[in-house]
Amino acid sequence: MTTSTMSLLESIPEKLGTTEPWVETGGAHWLATGALSVRELAKAMNELHARFVTITAYQLPKDEGFRLEYHWDLDGQLLGFPFQIAGNSIENGKIESIYDLCEAADWIEREIHEGFAIDFLGREYEPLLLRRGDTPGVNLRDAVAAGKENK
C-alpha cells in the first residue's frame, strides 16, 4: 500500500465521525459502521474517488435479520462496511438507497431487492427478471423460498 493510500485510509474514520479502527481480515479493510448512515458513507466514498464494487447480502440465523456488506475500492485496497438490518420480517427489511449518489449501485440494489426482499428506500425498481413471478425474496430469502411468507 502506498503512503498516500494509507493516509487516505486513515482519514476515512474521522471523515465518517467514528473512532473505530480499520481491521484488515479476509482480504479487505473493514470499518465498523455503528450508527452511520449508508448515504453519508456513499458521499464520503465519492469525495475520495473510491470505486464502488458491490453489496453482499447475508440472511442471519433465526430472527437476527440481515447483514449488508458495502464494498469500495480505493487505489487497489478493498474496503468493507457492514450494515445490520434487524428482524427477519418483510416489513423490517429496509435500508436507504445510495443509487442517486452512486449510479454503480443500481443493479446490485435491484438484485438484493429481488433475492432477499430488502427494500432500498427512496428508489423505484425495474425488474431484473431474476425472480420467479413477482415475489421478491423467492431466490435467496429462506422464509419466502419455503412459501411461509409472501409480500
Binding site: T25, G26, G27, A28, H49, R51, F52, V53, T54, T56, A57, Y58, E69, H71, D73, D75, G76, Q77, L78, G80, C102, E103, A104, D106, W107, I108, E126, P127, L128, L129, L130, N139, L140
Partner: protein, 360 residues
C-alpha cells in the same frame, strides 16, 4: 416520431440472451433499457448446498469462457478462511492458466467483433488461432473448457515440460503479431466500423464503476494484477494498456495490446517456473468462521467473491459472485445513446459481455 426497437432476448446480433429495448428517432437511438436474467440458474443458492470440494466444480460452471478465473477467485477466498498458502510453483501455474484463458477469451471476442463488423475472413482467422490456444490449455489440463486446475492450497496438475508449452506460446505469439494485431490496429475496415462509435466517457466510466478493458479503454488505468497483485503477478513485468477515447476502437485496441502483454507474462512465468510442490503439503485443514473476499482480474475485468463459512461446516454459508459484466453492462445504455441502430450489436459486443456470468 419515436418508436421502440427490441433487440433480444434471442437475436442474431447477440451471442447470449439478454434484451435491449431501444427508443429510436429515425435511425438514431435516443435511449435504451436493459433486461437480464434469462440465464438465471440460482448458482449462489446451489453453492450453499455443496461441500468445499463440490463448490469448486460448481463455480467453474458460472462461465464457459473464464471458468478457471472463477475457481481461482473462489479458492483464494477459501485459502484465506483455512490459512493455507499455495507453494510458489502453484502460484506460477495459476498465472499461466489465467493468462492463457485471457488469450483465449480476447481472441474469441476478436472473432465475434470481426463477424459483427462484417469482416468474416478475420472471424475465421481468430477462431483458428483460438483453437491453438485451446490446444495449449488442453495440453496442460487435459480439458478444453472446464480445466479443473485450481484446488484449495494449490493446483491439481503440474506443468511437467514448461519448455514445450513455451514453444507453443511463442508460435501463438508470432501468429497473433502477424495477423490479429496489425489488422485490428491498422485496418481501414476496423477503423471505419469502430472509431467514434459507442463512446463511454471517462466521467461516465467512473460513475458506472466499469472494470477491465472497458474501463481501460475509457482512460481509467485500473488493473488488479498490478494494483492488488495475487498469485505470482507481483513477480511479473507487464503493462496495462490504456486508451483515452472510450469508443469501440479503443476497446478493440486495449484487448489487442493485452494479447501481447499476456504473451509477455506467459513467457516470464514459463521461463521462471520455480521447482517444488504444486500443492500445499498440509493435508488437514479447517475452515474458520467468518467471511473472506477475493478479487481477480478476469479477461473482462474484476471478479469478486465473498465467501462466508461457519466453523465445522462442510458447506459455505454464502457465496456471492460479482462478475465484471454485471458492472459493465449498465454502461451499454450510455454507449448506445446517439448511436446508429445498425451499430448497436457491435457496441454491446464491445464490452465482451458474458450474460451467463452476470445472471449466475
Amino acid at each position: 416520431m419515436s418508436y421502440k426497437i427490441p433487440m433480444g432476448p434471442y437475436h442474431p446480433g447477440l451471442e447470449e440472451p439478454y434484451k435491449l429495448d431501444m427508443i429510436c428517432e429515425g435511425e438514431t437511438v435516443q435511449d435504451a433499457k436493459l433486461h437480464i436474467g434469462f440465464n438465471f440458474r440460482g448458482i449462489e443458492h446451489l453453492a450453499e448446498t455443496r461441500n468445499y470440494i463440490q463448490v469448486i466444480a460448481l463455480m467453474e460452471r458460472v462461465c464457459g469462457i473464464c471458468s478457471n478465473i472463477h475457481t481461482l477467485t473462489l479458492c483464494q477466498a477459501m485459502e484465506k478462511l483455512t490459512g493455507l498458502t499455495p507453494p510458489p510453483r502453484a502460484l506460477y501455474i495459476r498465472v499461466i492458466m489465467a493468462e492463457l484463458e485471457r488469450l483465449h477469451s480476447h481472441v474469441l471476442w476478436a472473432g465475434i467483433a470481426s463477424k459483427l463488423m462484417g469482416f468474416k475472413t478475420m472471424f475465421m482467422t481468430c477462431f483458428e488461432i483460438r483453437e491453438k490456444v485451446m490446444d495449449v490449455l488442453a495440453a496442460i489440463s487435459g480439458n478444453r473448457v472446464n480445466y479443473a486446475m485450481n484446488c484449495i492450497g494449490g493446483v491439481n496438475r503440474d506443468i511437467t515440460d514448461p519448455q514445450a508449452i513455451l514453444k507453443m506460446v511463442e508460435a501463438l505469439e508470432l501468429e497473433m503479431s502477424r495477423t490479429i494485431i496489425p489488422i485490428f490496429t491498422t485496418s481501414k475496415t476496423a477503423r471505419s466500423r469502430c472509431a467514434g462509435i459507442g463512446v463511454l466517457t471517462l466521467e461516465k466510466a467512473v460513475s458506472c464503476g466499469v472494470v477491465g478493458p472497458t474501463a481501460r479503454a475509457s482512460g481509467l488505468p485500473q488493473d488488479l494484477r498490478r494494483d492488488a497483485p495475487y498469485a505470482a503477478y507481483a513477480e511479473m513485468e507487464f503493462d496495462a494498456p490504456v486508451q483515452p477515447d472510450g469508443d469501440v476502437r479503443a476497446r478493440l485496441l486495449v484487448r489487442a495490446l493485452e494479447i501481447m502483454e499476456s504473451c509477455k507474462i506467459l513467457r516470464q512465468a514459463l521461463s521462471k517456473l520455480p521447482p517444488g510442490e504444486f500443492h500445499t503439503a498440509d493435508e488437514k485443514f479447517v475452515f474458520t468462521t467468518g467471511t473472506a473476499t477475493s478479487r481477480v482480474e478476469a479477461p473482462r475485468g474484476e471478479v469478486m467473491y465473498s465467501v462466508s463459512w461457519k466453523e465445522g461446516s462442510r458447506n459455505p454459508a454464502r457465496v456471492h459472485v460479482r462478475t465484471p459484466t454485471f458492472a459493465n453492462m449498465p454502461a451499454i445504455r450510455w454507449m448506445v445513446i446517439g448511436a446508429r441502430l445498425a451499430d448497436t450489436p457491435l457496441i454491446q459486443a464491445s464490452i465482451d459481455p458474458c450474460y451467463s456470468c452476470t445472471d449466475r
